[in-house]
Symmetry: C2
Subunit: 194 residues, 2 copies
């Protein structure tokens, strides 16, 4: 019986410096993370027709039917987190690192497995706090459909993956400089818009 | 209201020399094509959890949840057609050209649209009768998961697509030389197997 496979867009996220935050304020950090997930992350994932595959303690793994939706969701989550952090002292800020990959994964019940998932987790680890890293296949699929400019970080060797991964990044600063709601390229854009 | 998008593996197929075949024997060609579709193509697509998006007169467009499944299905259809053609005189043989792409397509009801679909049709036109052409993104997704060796045909400019497409091909001869049922790489392979 061959495995059931599915093309999917995989989003991996974790909290940067989670151990340090927990060491400084265990209950407070746990409560703040839960609140960000409930108030911002979960609704954004739902809005983009994704689903949480699993919570990982210091983050989560999500999948989307569309890689365009996955990237839009990631940008909106990072924008939302930046807004929510404005009034928080820097040492208490929860910031996500996000990695997105596209893969033909193995499906077992509600869970997904395979290189496609592992690479998403590696991309997450390469992202800066508040930023997003994507693989080349994701960038190729979204480049004509979304007006985000990902920076080419070159080929990187990642743990337990045979071939180097070409990494493209959106830094925290690049996310902050995006318009609040980035329209897809196909939508009419007002010329007077900033 | 933004478009609904979906990651999908797109398979486009048409009959090589369809006009010539129809010119020589209209009713016979039509009947033989219908029979190949009913007896071989439709069951193979079902077996690999794909679906026919539309029939195009001289061929069809199908989509699959998994690109690994799409490529396996294409190889098995081409192998099946080769077997079915053995007893047919060359001038009456129906042979498919097949193109496979992966894309984040726009979904409207049962239909799919976008560059991802257009590129699949262009790849189909580049395939030889009995052969299969795939794009680079398809090859990258299947290369470690299936033991088919696609030949690199380089970057090709295709009509109405802004960027050149890197094309990989499996010729009719390469399909014929594959084992009757190619096991995925993850399966144990007997050392004595030819």
């Amino acid at each position: 019986m061959p495995s059931v496979r599915r093309l999917t867009a995989i989003l991996a996220a974790d909290v940067a410096g989670y151990s340090r935050l927990m060491g400084a304020d265990e209950e407070g950090t746990h409560e703040r993370l839960k609140r960000h997930l409930r108030e911002l992350v979960d609704p954004k994932i739902g809005e983009h027709r994704g689903r949480i595959v699993k919570n990982t303690g210091d983050g989560f793994l999500a999948e989307f039917q569309s890689v365009v939706d996955a990237v839009k969701c990631a940008v909106e989550v990072q924008q939302g987190m930046a807004e929510r952090n404005v009034a928080t002292p820097p040492e208490k800020r929860i910031e996500f690192r996000v990695g997105i990959n596209l893969g033909d994964v193995i499906v077992e019940g509600e869970d997904i497995f395979g290189d496609g998932v592992n690479i998403a987790a590696r991309l997450e680890a390469l992202a800066e706090p508040g930023g997003i890293c994507i693989s080349r296949v994701v960038r190729d699929q979204v480049r004509d459909k979304l007006n985000y400019t990902f920076e080419d970080r070159g080929e990187q060797s990642v743990k337990n993956i045979a071939r180097p991964v070409r990494v493209y990044a959106l830094s925290r600063e690049a996310v902050a400089n995006l318009p609040a709601s980035s329209a897809p390229l196909a939508m009419p854009v007002s010329r007077s818009a900033g």
